[in-house]
């Protein structure tokens, strides 16, 4: 069984329930009538590393810092009537703080992955979310990437590509050791298979 000895967690709660400002959907208004019971997809089994929260925070904060710096420069370069500049700066600060506090935690609640014997299953995003499933037999390459910021937090990204340009499964914020094991096992599984 692939990845059996990996650190497992208790059965994950539905991340849509965990996502903070997410009201429950309206009651079912009935899709096409169907005799078979409704299928329901559970989230993938494994969370990414908790350090990913700090990593996403740092990344977002870095981006906002650039915007804020530009705004401050703009403010200082204006000799008179800075009302609009101050207002814009205040709005940016509020949005930035909200983004930096909410996004990483929300993302952590959503981002999950799982490698079953025949398929890889990922879930990513926060405001917009996406689940991707690809059969192991269709995997073409398994890549790891560590950006400077990711290295700082001991994290790795794993990208599983298929022959489709639209089908890459990306797992961000994995613990480095977990990522390496995942890559090894997936690579061993997918060797010598034609995946087109």
């Amino acid at each position: 069984v692939i990845l059996a000895p990996l650190p497992t967690e208790p059965p994950p709660p539905d991340p849509t329930a965990a996502s903070p400002p997410h009201p429950a959907g309206p009651p079912d208004q009935g899709g096409p009538p169907d005799a078979t019971p409704d299928l329901e997809l559970r989230p993938p089994r494994h969370r990414v590393s908790p350090r990913a929260i700090r990593y996403w925070t740092a990344r977002a904060a870095g981006g906002w810092l650039l915007v804020l710096t530009a705004q401050v420069v703009w403010l200082l370069a204006t000799p008179a009537d800075r009302r609009w500049h101050v207002l814009a700066l205040a709005v940016t600060v509020v949005v930035a703080v909200a983004h930096v506090t909410v996004m990483p935690r929300w993302r952590y609640a959503v981002h999950r992955w799982e490698a079953a014997p025949h398929a890889v299953y990922t879930q990513a995003g926060w405001f917009d979310q996406e689940r991707r499933i690809a059969p192991i037999s269709r995997i073409q390459t398994v890549d790891t990437e560590r950006g400077p910021l990711e290295q700082l937090f001991g994290l790795s990204s794993v990208t599983v590509t298929t022959a489709s340009a639209a089908g890459a499964l990306e797992i961000n914020g994995l613990d480095r050791a977990v990522a390496d094991r995942l890559v090894d096992e997936l690579t061993a599984e997918t060797q010598a298979e034609d995946a087109t």
Binding site: T16, H22, P23, G25, P26, D28, Q29, G30, G31, P32, D34, T36, D38, L39, E40, L41, R42, P44, E114, A116, P117, H118, A119, Y121, F127, D128, Q129, E130, R131, R132, I133, A134, P135, R138, T162, A163, S164, A165, A166, G167, L169, A195, T196
Partner: protein, 504 residues
């Protein structure tokens, strides 16, 4: 026969007449510059002639310096005098062999053969272009490269060609030209021409009032009043677009023929002045798409496009060779699609509509797109003191958006047959994609914040062919999973909630 033994061959000697012309045409801007620069010193004509002579010599040299050979493993092209180039394509990587012939080539019985590896959408995709083979030689070369047959000896070749090996699937009928005006391909031409004329008039400081016919035209328009003038100009534009679109249709698709060859390829031949022959290997075919742009749909027309790996789609579809049928009656497009995928079921299968929630979402999105625009126009108008009719005119976009939303909702539908996943969507261009189930290599389930609130999901089947991703937008969650399970049985089973399989 080994690689080293294969002799190098030259292009057709008749290219000695074509290359110089091509060089002169390519060098035309430089020659023109030379002429202008030279005329300031009084002997522009001489400099121009020298330039033409250089271009002609360079063109002639191209024939002498270009050689190619087809070894058992590779197609090789060697060219260049000062900068020698050798391009090679492994024969087992050859995916397309396109044969085109412009007017000059056709007059001399020549064709240009482009051997492509179909790896990407870029034009320089590592293919080899043999510009200038005799037409008879090219068809043999194409069969050899695509069907991986050893090059037959001369007598065998004629024998093989004597047998009728192909079945015709579709052939252009002249009455289809009536769909030409509805393709709108002429808009670009009219736009470019208009821009060019305006620019030229501007640069040359021509006052339209000084040209007789234009002045008469202006006077005539002025006498019609504003409304009349707008109608007249619009009618003239529509007429011009229709004429150019029809011309474009005839130029591109005259003599269109789609045939199936027993070696496992589909051949497309078309073109009035410049002829093109492209091939699609059937083993790379992953499905077909019937697309109906709004205008074409309004007159009952449709097109058919192949979903195949390594072929261009979208705007490049016509050049990239995935077009299976130019604008034609819709029934014809469906017949061709069914013949190509060898089954009618994907075309006749009833589609499951996406229900009231998807419909509501279409309307919400349409209004969210145009109400802010109307509001902005209103606010700006108040601030800037525009006339009230500006705001009133912008109101037109609301019913238009609603009509579009209604049509988009009507288009939505999907189905899974034993052979294919079928998805239909779109209004401006309605597409019914029929993707073979074996061609699906992954499933994406996208849910935006608002989709989650509505309990909807956009299911995307990824594939190595065509657009790479074919979407079923805004289906109810449970229905999306049912489609997943039918399209790729067993794939999602381990990930289902509440089943024993989920715990396996």
């Amino acid at each position: 026969v080994t690689t080293a033994d294969t002799p190098w061959r030259r292009l057709s000697p008749r290219m000695l007449a074509v290359h110089p012309v091509q060089e002169v045409v390519r060098a035309a801007p430089a020659l023109f510059g030379l002429l202008v620069a030279g005329s300031s010193s009084g002997n522009g004509a001489r400099w121009g002639l020298i330039g033409v002579a250089i271009a002609i010599v360079a063109g002639t040299m191209r024939w002498f310096t270009t050689r190619y050979r087809i070894t058992p493993e590779q197609v090789q092209l060697k060219r260049g005098l000062l900068r020698r180039q050798l391009r090679a394509v492994a024969r087992d990587r050859v995916r397309t062999v396109d044969v085109t012939a412009g007017p000059l080539h056709r007059a001399l019985g020549l064709v240009r053969v482009t051997v492509g590896t179909g790896r990407s959408d870029r034009s320089s995709d590592g293919g080899v272009r043999l510009d200038g083979l005799a037409a008879s030689e090219a068809s043999g070369l194409r069969d050899e490269l695509l069907h991986d047959r050893p090059r037959p000896h001369a007598e065998e070749a004629t024998e093989a060609r004597a047998a009728p090996p192909e079945t015709v699937i579709a052939r252009l009928r002249p009455e289809w030209i009536r769909y030409g005006p509805f393709t709108l391909s002429g808009i670009v031409t009219v736009g470019v021409l208009g821009g060019f004329v305006l620019n030229a008039a501007n640069d040359a400081h021509v006052d339209p009032r000084s040209v007789g016919p234009l002045r008469d035209l202006g006077d005539a328009l002025a006498s019609m009043g504003l409304a009349g003038a707008i109608v007249a100009v619009a009618a003239a534009l529509v007429l011009m677009v229709a004429v150019f679109s029809t011309t474009g249709y005839v130029l591109a698709f005259w003599g269109f023929r789609l045939t199936r060859h027993p070696g496992g390829t589909l051949h497309v031949a078309r073109g009035l002045v410049t002829t093109r022959q492209t091939t699609i290997e059937e083993r790379r075919l992953r499905g077909v798409e019937v697309s109906e742009p709004l205008l074409l749909r309004s007159v009952g027309g449709g097109r058919c496009i192949a979903i195949a790996t390594g072929l261009r789609v979208g705007r490049g579809a016509e050049r990239g060779g995935s077009l299976l049928l130019p604008p034609a009656p819709r029934a014809e497009a469906e017949r061709v699609a069914a013949e190509v995928i060898r089954g009618r079921e994907p075309l006749t299968a009833p589609l499951t509509p996406h229900g009231p929630r998807a419909r509501r979402r279409r309307f919400t999105r349409a209004l969210a797109g145009c109400v802010p625009v109307v509001a902005a126009v209103f606010a700006l108008g108040r601030l800037a003191g525009w006339a009230d009719w500006v705001w009133a005119v912008s109101l037109v976009c609301i019913p238009a958006a609603l009509a579009l939303a209604a049509d988009r909702a009507r288009s939505l539908g999907h189905a899974v047959t034993p052979a294919a996943l079928i998805a239909r969507a779109g209004s401006i261009v309605r597409r019914r994609a029929m993707l073979s189930r074996e061609g699906i290599i992954g499933l994406n389930l996208h849910r935006s914040f608002f989709q989650r609130r509505a309990g909807l999901v956009t299911l995307t089947a990824t594939t190595a062919a065509g657009r790479q991703a074919y979407g079923v937008p805004d289906v109810v969650d449970a229905e999306a999973l049912r489609v997943c399970d039918q399209a790729m049985p067993g794939l999602i089973t381990p990930f289902l909630a509440g089943t024993a399989a989920g715990e396996r």
